[in-house]
């Protein structure tokens, strides 16, 4: 099987081309020499069954950024039969250097001049025939977005792959200064003889849109309106779908599964229904939100607005070691942490991305909101309830900023922060849909195992030993609660509530359901019971702890997948537990002091 790599700088439409060439069968895979997942597909290209790999967009083959290391690792450890170098035609002058560096390694390549329509509109003309002759490799003008030039591209692929390889492929070595200068001169000469630039570039649309979106006065308000609308759209549409799915899963359980296992031993029945089935449905409940999230976020990303958001928020975010894109993801975390963590993929600087992933779990997501609303309505009047909720939101922001500030030096960014502001472009539906499909596949294959195992673990804790009531103080979870009471007593959380917190590890929505099981009552009865058994100070302390202590199992699974770092996960969970305890302690003890 032949291996074809897609290479190019960021924002050149490389992934769009990948989607066009790959159809719908793209998958995620591992390769020697690198630790991250790349998108790849098996396809018939140029008369060969080939594996087409979408490498991350990089500016330079030699560099030290995370993505550059990935590409270097890939090239040095995997034989490449063809490299399709994608470049943005209107930026050919700057982007040819990558092409030359590859050619110097004797990797068989061809050059795809993408976005040739955009260059034409700007009045830039490229003589591809002369360029082809001078470079001695095939050059094809394409528009990946509109599917132009694809036949020519496939023909060129076949041509290169059928050539005999004359020179062995070299490994990547650092360029010395004289190489750099000679490459620079070569490019200048090439550009001079093949590209005609207009006297004045006429990309009026981008200029106009920028003077609107980046306006010093209303740029930020517009940004917040856009983010708010996106947020509302994703989560107000996603929530009812999620609720419908939950209803369906319940219905399916009661009407089909329970009768099916009714004759089996009760512990086996419970393992299947309260353990396995709950795990699977927990995973499934994230699907609609993740799809919606990536449908919308790909539009924002492809349109070029995301980089503008980075510009707008950079002044403030720089102070806490993040950037504007991280800020957007953090806000999305207030809907659901899982897609927000997955969305940090767009940040290509490792440290920045890790720090962003580190703080997102502190965002008060809609699942936590459900728990708070239940407890607040049970224990507080409408007036004070609103105040308490407001306070919890403030606390969420506060913990984000504190965590970022504390860990900013741990995740110190060593790379220059230069972000390209590409021209505004219309996203294509095809690309947007395929992106969402890939993300959901990724989530399902990587996170489901972890989540199901976690749910089973909690199930075992709350259901064993088998001769005592479920989730009672005599189960392992109850014993754990008792054992932990010296820690939880100073923050006003009793043993029953500790069991609820153990359940809350699966998903925050479960906390109320868990309380129902623990106290053996539901709905209004449960609310009344809470009202008479827990005072307001204890309730707030419990909510503070629930807000901060640990994101749900799915968030942890996603954190692990996206960071590929177990130590980050351990770091994150321990820091959250510590912070939760400290905040609850401060609140509980000062409140007790002043109220007595």
């Amino acid at each position: 099987m032949k291996r074809i790599a897609l290479l190019g700088m960021p924002n050149t439409g490389k992934s769009t081309l990948f989607n066009r060439l790959s159809g719908s069968s793209a998958r995620v895979g591992n390769w020697p020499g690198i630790t991250v997942d790349l998108h790849a597909v098996k396809t018939l290209l140029g008369g060969h069954i080939s594996e087409l790999v979408d490498l991350p967009g990089i500016y330079d083959l030699q560099g030290l950024s995370e993505d550059e290391k990935i590409v270097q690792g890939f090239i040095n450890h995997n034989k490449i039969d063809l490299a399709i170098v994608v470049l943005c035609s209107s930026q050919i002058e700057r982007q040819l250097s990558l092409m030359l560096q590859l050619k110097n390694l004797h990797i068989p390549c061809l050059l795809a001049l993408n976005m040739s329509d955009e260059a034409k509109k700007m009045g830039i003309t490229i003589n591809d025939r002369i360029l082809e002759r001078k470079l001695k490799i095939p050059v094809v003008k394409i528009s990946a977005k509109y599917g132009e030039g694809m036949t020519e591209l496939l023909k060129a692929c076949a041509q290169v792959m059928n050539q005999k390889i004359t020179f062995p492929i070299k490994k990547i070595k650092p360029l010395n200064v004289s190489d750099q200068i000679s490459n620079g001169k070569k490019i200048q000469a090439l550009i001079k003889s093949t590209v005609k630039f207009p006297l004045k570039l006429n990309d009026k649309n981008t200029k106009k849109l920028d003077s609107f979106f980046l306006n010093p006065y209303w740029g930020l308000p517009i940004f917040f309106i856009i983010v708010f609308s996106i947020f509302q759209f994703i989560f107000s549409l996603g929530k009812p779908i999620q609720d419908l799915m939950t209803q369906f899963f319940n219905f399916f359980r009661i009407d089909y599964l329970e009768p099916l296992f009714v004759n089996h031993h009760s512990i086996f029945q419970s393992l299947l229904l309260d353990g396995l089935y709950l795990g699977v449905t927990t995973v499934a409940s994230f699907v609609p939100i993740i799809i919606l999230f990536f449908l919308i976020m790909s539009v924002v990303e492809d349109s070029g607005y995301f980089s503008r958001a980075a510009f707008l928020m950079d002044t403030l975010m720089e102070k806490i070691g993040l950037d504007g894109r991280g800020f957007v993801m953090m806000l999305m975390g207030f809907g659901c942490n899982v897609p927000a963590l997955m969305g940090t993929k767009i940040m290509r600087t490792k440290e920045l991305r890790l720090l962003t992933m580190f703080v997102i779990p502190f965002s008060l997501c809609s699942a936590r909101l459900q728990v708070f609303l239940f407890i607040i309505s049970a224990l507080f009047s409408a007036k004070y309830g609103a105040l308490v909720l407001y306070g919890l939101y403030l606390l969420s922001f506060l913990t984000i900023f504190i965590s970022a500030l504390v860990f900013k030096n741990q995740f110190k960014n060593k790379e220059p922060i230069i972000i390209e502001l590409p021209p505004y472009r219309f996203p294509t539906l095809n690309h947007v849909i395929k992106r969402s499909v890939l993300e959901i596949k990724y989530f399902l294959t990587r996170a489901s195992k972890f989540i199901v195992i976690g749910v089973l673990l909690v199930w075992a804790l709350t259901h064993f030993p088998t001769d005592v009531p479920i989730a009672s103080e005599l189960t392992y979870s109850g014993q754990l609660g008792k054992w932990l009471s010296p820690i939880f007593q100073p923050i006003g959380i009793n043993e029953q509530l500790v069991i609820a917190l153990i359940f809350g590890f699966i998903a925050k929505e479960i906390v109320i359901g868990a309380l129902a099981v623990i106290y053996g009552m539901e709905g209004t009865a449960l609310a009344h019971h809470l009202y008479s058994n827990i005072n307001q100070i204890q309730a707030i302390s419990f909510m503070i702890f629930t807000l901060i202590y640990t994101p749900c199992l799915s968030t942890i699974a996603t954190l692990k997948n996206e960071s590929k770092s177990l130590s980050l996960v351990i770091y994150s969970v321990s820091w959250a537990l510590l912070l939760a305890w400290v905040f609850s302690f401060i609140f509980y003890q000062t409140s007790i002091y002043f109220s007595s």
């Binding site: 750099q180 990309d203 510009f311 950079d314 220059p416 230069i418 502001l421």
Partner: protein, 77 residues
């Protein structure tokens, strides 16, 4: 000769030198920031925020620290 920091909105200059480690120079070059190129400051964010600059057809956001490493000779627009 001044650094890019000194330019205000709408002003431009020719990049004269990149005062940094050679490995960084390569990165800057790849993003279009190379000696001899004309660079225009399109806008500056308030409160010492980032710069929005243009080189040929490439537009970039650069933070103050990176801008301070770029030496330029001011020219007319």
């Amino acid at each position: 000769m001044i650094t890019l920091l000194k330019l205000s909105e709408g002003q431009c200059g020719v990049i004269h030198a990149l005062k940094m480690d050679p490995s960084l120079i390569q990165r800057f070059n790849a993003m279009g920031l190379r000696c001899g190129k004309k660079i225009t400051v399109l806008r500056k964010a308030q409160f010492k925020g980032p710069f929005h600059v243009m080189i040929d057809t490439t537009e970039l956001m650069i933070r103050e620290h990176e801008a301070s490493l770029i030496q330029i000779t001011p020219t007319a627009a």
